[in-house]
């Protein structure tokens, strides 16, 4: 069991990177505690697969260190890191049986055949693969194959961390649910550190205890799903998590107040925020989740554009001087027609400077 620490990791695929833009991983410092379930969430090209490769040792970082339980393993080869990985599409050895597939990592490590048998049958049982265990692995369905790739990690007892690289991409919708709950259940049973890479927020939020949101080669925020939702540290987190994402508007600072097209807005982080912004040329924005925008008698005058009925609630699109604002209202709430006023809940309204939550400083 292992605690994994990434220290000042930078990585570029170019031979001699010049600017920040040449780096796929710009600067990452993070710790994966032993036995945790983590998700790396971000859009394609944000560097999450690269980061996974760095942990597994398939990629060696341009600079920075990786520690497993305090021991520097940056230059240690994959096989000695004792990791397991499940790839986007199932990687199985077509010509072997299911049993031989599961036994393969153990046989390569010269485990006695009697131990192998017990271990493989154990894992096959865990994954519901017992039936047809002596059939050719190639004859299985995609989800069965993906279970085999998962099983090859589970059979080994020395695994420090199990990693998943968008493992459900090619799985049918209804099987996705089953595999996802299977994973969660496995994590509770085996208590191995798991890192799950995905661009799907539902997968990340349901699987992980802690989600690391990645954007343009950085971890912009890490925290529990609730933290990410309630207090995004970066406008990207606000936009990427939640459905629909956060409302984000440009704003001006005049003296001690924050103004949105001339109207004063109260923000949760206003005081530290404005202090940290003094004398800076930062671009300022405010962010508020649609869940915390309310209709009221006074406030920001808006024109109602459209109402979408989403079942348990309604999504209302309104407009204030060409700024589109979204609100989420309960399903039975009356929606005013034509024009109305909206109000932002103060404790849920945040001031951002250059995309980062003002007053907290950027992580890097």
């Amino acid at each position: 069991m292992t605690k994994i620490a990434l220290q000042n990791i930078r990585h570029s695929y170019l031979g001699s990177p010049q600017t920040d833009g040449d780096f796929a991983i710009k600067h990452i410092n993070t710790v994966f505690e032993d036995g945790g379930a983590y998700a790396l969430l971000g859009p394609s090209g944000c560097g999450k697969t690269t980061l996974l490769g760095i942990v597994s040792g398939l990629i060696s970082p341009t600079s920075g260190r990786i520690l497993f339980d305090g021991e520097d393993i940056t230059r240690v080869d994959t096989i000695h890191r004792h990791i397991a990985q499940v790839f986007q599409f199932p990687v199985i050895y077509d010509t072997m049986t299911v049993f031989d597939n599961l036994a393969f990592p153990l046989r390569n490590r010269k485990v006695p055949e009697s131990d192998i048998k017990a271990r493989v049958l154990d894992v096959a049982k865990m994954l519901d693969l017992e039936e047809g265990i002596h059939r050719r692995a190639a004859s299985l369905t995609v989800d069965g194959k993906q279970k085999i790739s998962l099983g090859r990690g589970l059979v080994r007892e020395d695994v420090n961390v199990m990693m998943f690289d968008e493992p459900l991409t090619v799985i049918d919708q209804n099987m996705k649910w089953e595999l996802r709950s299977k994973l969660k259940e496995l994590h509770q049973n085996v208590r191995t550190t798991m890192i799950y890479v995905t661009h799907d927020q539902t997968e990340a939020l349901t699987f992980a205890d802690e989600v690391l949101v990645m954007y343009e080669g950085r971890v912009v925020q890490s925290g529990t799903p609730v933290e990410l939702f309630e207090k995004p540290r970066h406008t990207f987190v606000g936009y990427f998590i939640g459905s629909p994402g956060m409302n984000i508007f440009p704003c001006q600072i005049s003296g001690e107040t924050v103004e949105f097209s001339g109207l004063p807005i109260e923000c949760d982080n206003q005081i530290q925020g404005i202090r940290s912004l003094q004398d800076s040329q930062a671009i300022t924005e405010i962010g508020i989740r649609p869940e915390y925008v309310r209709f009221s008698n006074q406030g920001i005058p808006v024109r109602i554009c459209r109402v979408d009925d989403l079942g348990r609630h309604q999504l209302v699109h309104v407009e204030h001087e060409h700024h589109a604002i979204k609100l989420i209202c309960p399903e039975d709430a009356p929606i005013p027609e034509g024009s109305a006023c909206v109000r932002f809940e103060k404790s849920r309204t945040f001031l951002y400077a250059d995309k980062w939550l003002a007053g907290e400083g950027s992580q890097s």
């Binding site: 050895y93 393969f104 390569n108």
Partner: protein, 288 residues
């Protein structure tokens, strides 16, 4: 695999191909069959001979010898070219500027006319003035492919390896480059040795293209004619007279059209039979 719709009118698409191939295949084949079962003294007068020619060919030592030589030649070149081709493909870099250069240079022998291949190797192997022959002899190896059957065989096999190994390399390489990187990564994580990677990933993934390579090499080596006639002319003696050369000697050299036609049919039938057996075995293997 695509689900195919049943549509008889698709025949229309196939008609031009069928006509062209049938024209070239069926009419000459009928001619061969005509000669094979009948005796002619010219003027389109034929006498029914039945299976006489077939019996004659099948019982002749000459055919047996040519057939044995053919089997030996084909087996040797398959045993050399297939493993060698795979080994070279495995040693090639996967990407980079050198890949194209290597592939182009390797493909070069495939596009040299077969008589030129024969002539080139003849000049190359000449014992007194050829680079190969001269070098071997000056190293103290007694080598003369126009006189010694062993030398002739060695030259013939070396020529075929030179000529055709690249086909195996190109096909195997195409198979290798199609293997997704994740397979290699998974194998490293599973702690697989190089040999295990080859046995469980690379070889299974190359199976289809290797089947094609082996089939093509089998067929073409069984039909080899032009290169050999230019290189050795079937000699010294009859030592390198393989089936095609024997057939042409019989048909055009001696003008024994009946036995030649019978032999043609037997020859064609053998190629078909071996290909069919080979193909069926491979397909069965794949289905399991």
């Amino acid at each position: 695999m695509i689900n195919k719709t049943i549509r008889q009118s698709a025949w229309l698409f196939v008609v031009p191909v069928v006509l062209l191939v049938a024209f070239n295949a069926l009419i000459p084949l009928m001619t061969v069959v005509n000669y094979a079962f009948q005796e002619t003294f010219g003027d389109n007068v034929f006498f029914w001979e039945g299976l006489t020619w077939f019996e004659q060919v099948l019982n002749s030592d000459r055919f047996h010898d040519a057939f044995l030589r053919q089997i030996m030649f084909t087996s040797i070149i398959l045993l050399i070219e297939v493993p060698l081709g795979i080994a070279i493909a495995l040693s090639m870099p996967r990407k980079g500027p050198w890949v194209s250069v290597c592939l182009v240079l390797m493909a070069l022998p495939l596009l040299i006319p077969w008589n030129v291949v024969g002539a080139m190797w003849n000049i190359f192997a000449l014992p007194d003035i050829g680079l190969l022959g001269y070098s071997l002899n000056s190293m103290g190896i007694d080598y003369n492919f126009t006189q010694q059957p062993i030398s002739a065989w060695a030259t013939m096999i070396l020529m075929d390896v030179w000529h055709w190994t690249s086909l195996v390399v190109l096909l195997a390489y195409a198979g290798l480059t199609a293997i997704p990187e994740a397979y290699y990564q998974a194998a490293r994580i599973d702690g697989a040795s190089k040999w295990a990677v080859f046995k469980w990933i690379q070889l299974p993934k190359m199976k289809r293209v290797l089947t094609i390579a082996i089939l093509l090499r089998f067929m073409d080596s069984f039909m080899i004619y032009t290169e050999l006639i230019v290189l050795t002319g079937g000699g010294p003696g009859n030592s390198t007279t393989l089936l095609s050369i024997d057939l042409v000697k019989l048909a055009l050299g001696q003008f024994d059209l009946g036995p030649a036609a019978a032999m043609s049919l037997i020859y064609f039938f053998i190629v078909l039979l071996i290909c069919w057996v080979f193909y069926t075995l491979m397909m069965k293997n794949e289905k399991q």
